[in-house]
Symmetry: C2
Subunit: 512 residues, 2 copies
């Protein structure tokens, strides 16, 4: 053997397992096994006592396995009857990978993360030599992982992207644009192996390229979650990340299955984090059990560094006393404009509609539910056990306009003008209207107070200074005192949301 790193691969091997009680110190058992096999003309490879007193595994050529079991069963007939030897059997169709590396433990840890558990492993640190026995169909992925570590082959991260609407498609383009840079700078090879919408999907283990849109458009494959999971499994793909850029209530039900099958999750979809607190916590336990991560920085404030900041402050014992801000880009625009322009509320809403800032039915924005969901997600980061129903939401749509169709609503939207004009006129001088989320109360208790409401603030305050469709978040804590941490900027939009999702993917990739 030379000092050059290389992997020796021996296929068509079998393990003969010899199980029994209290082998340690029983002089002669091991020798008898060996002699029996040698006398039978069977060549013996790696040998390992499984636990200090519980058995021996012997590696033989697959063709000799049956003979080995027969020979040993005969030799140890007496001990078998006496119950000292409990079982002698062989496992066929195995492969041995032998290599020398200083990265042994890293390799083993990578293998485990990818759900490869060698049947047998022997390692001697003095020489850095390791032998791993795996089932034959795991040979390729095992070899890949070993080569990645030994030869510094880039770490491949396989992404399954669900949803390719605004955010999803922007993310795909961003990933394709930056993939080469990330490969060279971080030795991380991001491969998009699945793209799916609610109807169709495409799979490609080599990773999609700039023609991904044609591929999905011309795909005839129906979307099937199971197929994505099996595809990853069948092709032994490692470092799996599910990326959910849908707003689907149904899709999040699959998260658990993905996690159980070795996927980490990155999501811009808020639905899961606003489900019942018991579902929320159960899923955290499943993640912990599987040693998987679930990142969702874009759930609130898109790419703004909000959730990670709050998480760290909270965990480091900083007493967060209040979180307040303008959480909705749409309603930011509406009230930033309405407050300073001499126009009807309905005109401003229509303007926002025409700019594509609102949902197709603007009542979805005006209902305050989206702001409420974001507020709930932040509250839960502080370990508060609030439910969605606990939130006091000021619905900006008046009662009569609630039960009607979208078209009727749009034709009667002027009915909103009177009440908002009055609210605007009733303000103190130099004040402006803002639609805010406000988490307050004694946040050391189980539940906090969650309000979603329209307020009037001084025009020269931080909230009052907000521009365009920006979001703003004020985080009040004990150490920061009266002046909160303020994080402000575009809190919505495909580009910045996609970039935030990308950030989560990179966070994940770096810890892999």
């Amino acid at each position: 053997m030379t000092d050059q790193p290389s992997i020796n691969i021996y296929r068509k091997k079998a393990l003969v397992n010899f199980e029994g009680k209290d082998f340690l110190g029983q002089i002669g058992i091991d020798s008898r096994i060996f002699n029996t096999l040698n006398n039978g003309g069977i060549s013996v490879g790696v040998i390992s006592q499984q636990a200090i007193e519980n058995g021996v595994s012997v590696l033989v050529d697959e063709k000799d396995a049956e003979a080995a079991v027969t020979l040993l069963s005969k030799e140890f007939k007496h001990e078998k009857n006496a119950g000292i030897v409990s079982n002698i059997y062989s496992i066929d169709n195995l492969c041995v990978l032998g290599f020398v590396s200083e990265q042994n433990t890293k390799i083993l840890s990578e293998l485990q993360r990818n759900k490869i558990f060698p049947l047998l492993l022997s390692q001697a640190s003095s020489t850095g030599r390791v032998n791993i026995v795996v089932t034959d169909n795991q040979t390729e992925i095992t070899q890949n992982i070993i080569e990645t570590e030994i030869f510094g082959k880039p770490k491949v991260v396989h992404l399954a992207l669900i949803g390719h609407g605004n955010v999803g498609s922007t993310l795909i383009e961003q990933i394709l644009d930056s993939a080469y840079d990330i490969l060279t700078r971080k030795r991380i090879d991001l491969k998009i192996i699945a793209i799916s919408n609610s109807k169709k999907m495409v799979l490609n283990k080599s990773g999609f390229r700039s023609d991904w849109r044609q591929k999905i458009n011309y795909s005839n494959t129906e979307t099937n979650i199971q197929d994505i999971i099996h595809y990853a499994k069948d092709h032994n793909l490692e470092n799996l990340v599910l990326v959910d850029n849908t707003a689907s209530k149904d899709f999040v039900k699959n998260y658990t299955e993905f996690v159980d099958n070795g996927f980490d999750i990155v999501s811009s979809n808020k639905i899961f984090n606003t489900s019942s607190i018991s579902d929320y916590r159960d899923f955290r336990n499943i993640l912990a059990k599987n040693n998987k991560k679930y990142l969702y920085e874009t759930n609130v404030g898109a790419g703004l560094p909000l959730i990670d900041t709050i998480k760290l402050l909270h965990l480091s014992g900083e007493n967060i006393t209040r979180i307040k801000g303008v959480f909705s880009g749409t309603l930011s625009y509406v009230f930033n404009q309405f407050s300073v322009r001499d126009e009807k509320f309905s005109s401003i809403v229509k303007e926002a509609m025409n700019k594509g800032f609102t949902e197709p039915d603007p009542r979805e924005d005006l209902s305050g539910n989206d702001v409420a969901r974001k507020l709930l997600i932040l509250a839960r980061e502080l370990d508060l056990v609030n439910e969605f129903e606990d939130i006091n939401i000021k619905n900006l749509v008046t009662e009569p306009l609630l039960p009607i169709s979208k078209d009727e609503f749009l034709s009667r939207i002027e009915e909103l003008d009177e009440v908002f004009q009055k609210t605007k006129d009733d303000q103190e001088p130099n004040h402006v209207l803002r639609y805010v989320g406000d988490l307050h109360g004694d946040l050391q208790k189980d539940k906090g107070e969650l309000d979603v409401k329209l307020i009037s603030v001084p025009a020269n305050s931080a909230l009052g200074q907000l521009k365009g469709s920006d979001s703003i978040f004020e985080i009040y804590t004990e150490s920061y005192g009266e002046n909160p941490i303020v994080i402000m900027g575009a809190g919505a939009g495909a580009k910045v949301t996609a970039r935030g999702v990308f950030g989560d993917i990179l966070r994940l990739s770096e810890t892999k």
Copy 2:
């Protein structure tokens, strides 16, 4: 054996290593080793062929080791002379730890991170059984790590804190306050095992408690970096983190040695990151080689989530086009006040001095060097190779006041008033003065433009709205367009800086 997890520990063992060439398939070699030892009355334990063709290790009682080597040398005399068997020798003073766990790979990876490389390891995944052979003095730490994983024993993170001034002592109190919470919620046991100032230090592997201040005050132990490293080594402490809360130019020279000895580093000290770009990059390579992390979120903006945000945006391919802001809490206060109050510049500076906002010699703040250092650190996060000398710094101290003593400066500080009053008066209406750092230019090139300067901005702009001694950072990127990401809040102060350092410690602890 029961199904209960437990660790079997066998001490006073020895490994007999039998090395040679091309053992694979040589029928009879293993048997001869066994028979020889058995016939000599030597009980044989774990056996493992080191690599598929390179040797055999046999575990024996330490007392039998010498006899085993003698017996085998005699038996294989012929092969030794022929060069087939290259070496037969024993390693004494070993310990075997045998256990059953589903966390095997995690355990092995933890061991490696703590620089424990088992001499021999055998593992069978079907049963989850593992035997690890380590040198006897590693028994305790190995057992600790295994128990941590098997029994969910908390992961102990050992902190060596350098510097216990304002930030350092606040951090110690914060850690002591939150330790129990973090232990129960995250299963992370933070132990402060070393506290040191420039003269004295104290060590305690069990972790310091609320009486830490007496301990360091009454310590007679001179500070010695080597002693800290040796202490950690001698007591086999795992998960080591060096926390530098000094501003020492000399201390940062020890970073490399700490990293080489298994420490991750968290630092509020800016010095290292503003050294020459070659030192900066060399150290990153050393970190990568040792698989260690270096976190310094508090280098800029104290606890504000600035560096992590910029890092992720940059890595995800977001084109950051400009970073601009008020980086100094001291100069924020000075110009926030001077801009709106009808008082002399020197009076405001003296007021800031009396509030403890400035360095003892306020020229250190007024020089702009601190702002420049922060700007340089941000620039380097964008992979720019700027040096400190590249920065255009507007020193606020006029030429004649530079070379004089601190006392003389303070007696002549009114000489600054005329120039600043003129600057203030020359502004357009409704404008205010701000001392800013500004990173701009074509940031896709090797170097950016770094300016530290006094500017006049509209009072109602984000910069103009700044209050108290807050910092503000505007991050302009391609996706965020004209409206930057704005991060604002207390960018200085012991409490928020300590909390930021604490955040870095937790970031590190969670990835361990």
